[in-house]
Amino acid sequence: MKKRNIIISIFTVAIVGSVVASVFLAKTPPKYYTRYGVELGTDVEISYATEKGNAKEIVDKMFNTFQKYDLIFDPWIAGSELYNLNHSDGKWVKVSPDLLYVIKESINFARITNGKFDPTIGRLVPLWGFNTDNTKSWHLPTPQEIQTALEHVGYKNVEIKEDEVRLLNGVWLDLNGMMEGYIDQMLINMARQNDPKSSGFVDVGGTVGIIGPKYGNQPWIIGIQNPRGNPNNSIAYVKLYSGYVGTSGDYERYIIVNGKRYYHIFDPKTGYSNDYFESVTTVSTESVFSDGFGVFSMVAGPSEMEKMASELGVAYYAVNEEGQIIKNEEWQKYEYKP
């Protein structure tokens, strides 16, 4: 009897022990640390999991870099690097590697698109008041004001020599068309430098870049905001294991005058926004195209959008002004239907 009790006790302890061990030692899914914020004049979300170091510390480090990027890329902060370049009166200016990279990519894309995407529309932005959050200052400029500003637009006025840039003819650069994708890429680099197998995503102003698949092998599901819905209302979804998704649209910075909508993406030839699309969402392996392609498409319209997408190998999902969905074949790879 005594022997029997000992065996029962050992058996019970072994089973309970193995249950405990399986609960605590089994490979559990990584726990994501998520931080929200408002940076660079837009909202930011980073979700991150790693087995190397503390995820919160890495995410906090990422957030700490935004101040640096603000002082590089914000053309409306007096003293920022881009502000100083825009006010350099045609002199050669040595620029930081971050600024140089985005200027080079922007000018390269301007060449490819024959100026439909043009980062030198800087002087048009304050003319409409879209450089500020003060909605009361958003207004329709006079045709004469637009004509005058257009005399200072044109990507061929940007000269690059090694790490120096010269802006001719009084052009001002506005790099919003590629900046968010680039910053996504820099933050992802930080995450991967910490742990190449780490997982998560970064979302800077609606441009989402993937650090690594969810739980190591599952896609992240990214909603596409309904251009005529509220900010949590998605019209479709993409699934991403890697790469970037970004959206351009007419629904946040706009005014309606005499029933016509004018928004913040200008045709560099006319100085006004075009009315082809409510939004264009792009999936790309290149961070800069996830933003830049949408801006180009809002200006260029559907036929040029399709042609350029084939050349660049990007996937797009567009909503035209009639609310119809236009998407290319490449999009099927990423489409997610819950």
Binding site: E45, G205, I221, I222, E252
Partner: protein
């Protein structure tokens, strides 16, 4: 010659009751672990101002909350059980004007993953412990 030794009970290690007790022990332990791991917490809203937690609001009643930066009034939040929304938002940079009220237009949020964001005021509101989660992990919107 057979020994005639009775082997019916002497080698039976577990009785029926021992087995039942063992099963209950294991099930009870499993339930306890499961409850600790997966029990939902009560829904609450986290309000961030300038990137720091300003207030954690339990979503268990009808109430109004105001958000200030120092003495400057920024936003009114309304709660009902399980949900929160912004009912008014000013613009601290340009206090004489209203913003375009994206935060107000967002309406009620009740699912994990939904947010209310006021960029001019640098306010983010998100839910924690909600019963439902959004279909998406993140949202792409115009830049």
């Amino acid at each position: 010659m057979k020994s005639g030794k009775n082997t019916n009970t002497s080698h039976k290690i577990f009785s029926k009751w021992d087995l039942i007790l063992l099963i209950f022990l294991i099930l009870g332990f499993g339930l306890w672990i499961g409850f600790r791991q997966f029990a939902p917490s009560a829904a609450k809203a986290v309000v961030l101002l300038d990137g720091k937690v300003y207030e954690v609001i339990p979503l268990d009643k009808n109430a109004y909350y105001k958000v200030y930066r120092g003495d400057t009034y920024l936003m009114t939040l309304e709660t009902k059980p399980g949900a929160i929304r912004a009912t008014y938002s000013t613009n601290w940079i340009f206090p004489q004007t209203e913003t375009n009220q994206v935060s107000v237009a967002t309406g009620w949020i009740s699912k994990e993953g939904e947010t209310i964001i006021s960029v001019p005021n640098k306010i983010v509101v998100y839910t924690e412990g909600a019963k439902e989660r959004t279909t998406y992990d993140a949202m792409t919107f115009q830049n």
